[in-house]
């Protein structure tokens, strides 16, 4: 007995470890589905998410976000991605070039919507960054500021005072600085960020980046470029 006892202990521990790992990885909650109030679907009711997919997953009713949302790509694109992002979040920064690449590769077949989801207690500058992007948006320069913030994330996220840095970005993209500074602290920018946040919460978004494709959440592990490409191709094929 004493000869095999250590092996029994080892096997029991191995069994418990593998068993718990298997149990915990399979009990991940199913991904929710957006409701019919998705702003992208309201823009073009004819091209809503595939009915098959909506039958497969439970429908979660989301409230509308900021209106109009900032979108890249045509409203009648067969595949619509909606990203909830935080400019200070490193994984969002890593996801940014992937999404740009998808935009280039799929062109008119893909529409991308960005939603502000600043994780305020976690990220000290996230709200200021979201405000900068939204303030630029009021001058029709949302995407240039969006790109600036993500591409230079490492330059500002550890700084104490980010406002002068964001202002320099505003100058670089050719904004009216007085108006930008007014809008940064203005009611409209705050309302837009709040509306996007409310939409995110209503859809069960808990972290960033969270991406929905035609109403269904894309699992985080499918966000690397090579996987996301296949996910989009499959969605296009299903159309």
């Amino acid at each position: 007995m004493k000869r095999i006892l250590p092996f029994i202990i080892i096997l029991v521990v191995l069994g418990v470890a593998l068993g718990s790992a298997w149990y915990l990885t399979r009990t991940i909650p199913a991904t929710p589905t957006l409701g019919s109030q998705s702003p992208s679907s309201s823009q073009s009711p004819a091209s809503q998410g595939s009915p098959v997919a909506q039958q497969q997953t439970p429908v979660v009713q989301g409230v509308p976000g900021a209106d109009p949302p900032y979108v890249l790509g045509p409203a009648d694109a067969p595949v619509k991605l909606e990203e909830f992002g935080d400019y200070e979040c490193p994984p969002c920064g890593m996801f940014h070039p992937i999404l740009k690449q998808m935009h280039e590769e799929f062109g008119d077949k893909l529409q991308i919507t960005f939603r502000e989801f600043p994780l305020v207690p976690t990220h000290q500058h996230a709200l200021a960054a979201a405000s900068a992007a939204e303030a630029a948006g009021l001058q029709g320069k949302f995407w240039p500021m969006h790109d600036m913030l993500y591409e230079h994330q490492d330059d500002w996220k550890k700084e104490f005072d980010v406002r002068p840095i964001f202002e320099s970005y505003a100058k670089q993209i050719g904004l009216d600085i007085d108006r930008y500074n007014r809008d940064m602290n203005g009611e409209l920018v705050a309302q837009r960020i709040f509306a996007d946040g409310k939409r995110g919460h209503s859809l069960g978004v808990k972290g960033t980046p969270t991406v929905f494709m035609n109403g269904r959440e894309v699992p985080f592990e499918n966000l690397p470029a090579d996987k996301l490409r296949v996910v989009i191709q499959n969605e296009l094929r299903g159309k």
């Binding site: 004493k2 006892l5 250590p6 202990i9 080892i10 521990v13 191995l14 470890a17 718990s20 790992a21 915990l24 990885t25 991940i28 935080d86 979040c89 490193p90 994984p91 969002c92 890593m94 994780l119 305020v120 207690p121 976690t122 990220h123 550890k158 808990k206 972290g207 960033t208 980046p209 969270t210 699992p219 985080f220 592990e221 966000l223």
Partner: protein
């Protein structure tokens, strides 16, 4: 002497649980995302968190399981196991030092479960060095 291996086995179990937790977080993407509650894990999202497609945390879990097994075998008088365990723990410590360096100077973010793992590996190193000292 035996007590040292009992403590080592228990520490390895804690390390195994820690590394398993990190593996699950890594695979499900829960902590790789930024969240309001747990903050970000730039560490798990970094290129250093994966080696040849295998999450580093999973390799860590396997290593802790090996250390646990070797500690148990040593307790049951398998002399060779103690030597293998010593070599493994020294290797794990060296890897931990490298990972701490990456977190401090390259990624410039710390991951608390990774710090716990480094702490456990350091404690294991102290234990195997004591056991060697006692034998000598």
């Amino acid at each position: 002497m035996k007590k040292i291996y009992v403590v080592a086995a228990l520490l390895a179990l804690v390390g195994l649980a820690d590394a398993l937790y990190l593996t699950i977080e890594h695979l499900t993407g829960q902590s790789v995302r930024c969240t309001i509650i747990s903050g970000c894990s730039a560490v798990l999202a970094s290129q250093y968190a994966v080696i040849a497609g295998i999450p580093l945390a999973a390799i860590g879990a396997a290593a802790y399981f090996m250390v646990f097994s070797l500690a148990i075998l040593t307790l049951f008088n398998y002399q060779w196991a103690g030597k293998v365990m010593r070599a493994m723990v020294i290797t794990m410590f060296a890897i931990s030092v490298w990972l701490m360096y990456l977190q401090a100077f390259v990624i410039r973010e710390f991951c608390q479960y990774c710090l716990l793992s480094a702490l456990i590996t350091t404690a294991l190193l102290v234990l195997v060095l004591i056991s060697r000292g006692l034998r000598a």
